[in-house]
Amino acid sequence: MTVIRAALDEMFAVIGQMVGSVFRHGLPLTDKIAARTALTNFFLHIHPVRVRRSWIRMSYTLCLGGLSFFLFIVLTVTGLFLMFYYVPSTHTAYENMRDLQFVVTFGGVIRNMHRWAAHAMVITVWLHMARVFLTGAYKKPREFNWGVGTLLLLITLLLSFTGYLLPWDQLSIWAVTVGTNMAKYAPIAGPYTRYLLIGGRVVGDNALLRFYVLHVVGLPLAAFLLMVVHFWRVRKDGFSGGL
């Protein structure tokens, strides 16, 4: 019995050590413990150690930047689910999209969540920019973050544009034909830019694959990195007045 008890004690000690390594400071019963927890935890350290009540007061624009970020998370998760059924080839893309709508259980829900969240994100990002502009929140010391924000707006629009091709229906193909022909009007670099974007002269297999790769990896990664900078700067520069 003593052998078993010793083994159990040993096991509990190891588990206790592991748990203690994850939760280092116990329950945040005092301000001091809460502050120490926030400082040493990766996820909590993103938040300021102290938050003034006025900083998180929900204002009439309902935290448009936060809404945009929430939609980005929705899009990432639903997009990941869509990738299980979608093959970016001109032979399969349209059928895969139809299967998602009509064959896959809850496929229609996931696809429509992705679609509507995408439309909504374009709207919330635009409105967020409008709010920052109209309240003068881009002024010193936030000029740099305004710049990062414009890049995030651009990436949001590019994500929307690249995603638009993926259902591979008539609307997508001709919308991208039109969009990339606009790029062609740029002086000197125009025709090369279009060729590079669609990987050829017509919107075909290469264009679909390129847009897919940009849509699921390239642009989200760039958006993520810029968001990290954007949010960090928001925290360092302070909230200009509520959310």
Binding site: W174, T177, M182, L196, G199, G200, R201, V202, N206
Partner: protein
């Protein structure tokens, strides 16, 4: 006393390092761009064969939608149109009447400079092409008369292949006066 014109070992190595890094980065950027710029595309080749010239009656307009080419056979010969809208590249569609709705709405439509045809109240219907994307319209001979299209659709080269069929090369743009007499 150190000569101020002499470079210290440290700054020499730093400058050499940065120059090396910059050159390597520039090469990497060039490589990356060249890599994603395709050398071969495996698209439909620009030249293709249509049917024998006798298939196309005089006065006919034949739309080869998969090839995005139109073959017009006029009394003075054949010519081919590249069916790509000159506005932003969609595919205009053929209609027997592309003018009467405009004429009836009171829009004045210019006379076709090549054929001399004119849509009037007395005779409002002319055949031609309408682009589904932004509504550009063209006469049957590819000359634009309405909407955002900035110029006529391109005419492309037609010849008779050794086997007697029409050979159309979409990569060769020809003059508006071009006609193939068979």
């Amino acid at each position: 006393m150190e000569d101020s014109r002499e470079m210290s070992r440290r700054s020499f190595l730093a400058i050499t390092g940065w120059v090396g890094f910059s050159v390597a980065s520039a090469i990497a950027l060039y490589q990356s761009l060249k890599f994603v710029y395709p050398n071969a595309t495996y698209e439909d080749p620009p030249a293709f064969k249509a049917d024998a010239p006798t298939t196309y009656a005089v006065g006919s307009t034949t739309v080869l939608i998969d090839k995005r080419v139109v073959i017009n056979h006029d009394p003075n010969g054949f010519y081919a149109i590249s069916l790509i809208c000159t506005h932003l590249g969609c595919t205009p569609r053929y209609f027997d009447d592309v003018t009467s709705d405009l004429v009836n709405a009171g829009t004045s439509i210019s006379r076709d400079p090549d054929t001399g045809l004119e849509a009037t109240r007395a005779n409002p219907a002319l055949p031609g092409f309408k682009c589904p994307c932004h509504g550009s319209r063209y006469f049957r001979d590819a000359i634009n008369f309405f909407g955002p299209a900035p110029r006529p659709m391109d005419r492309v080269h037609v010849e008779v292949a050794p086997d007697g069929k029409l050979l159309i090369d979409r990569s060769v743009i020809v003059d508006r006066a071009f006609r193939l007499k068979v």
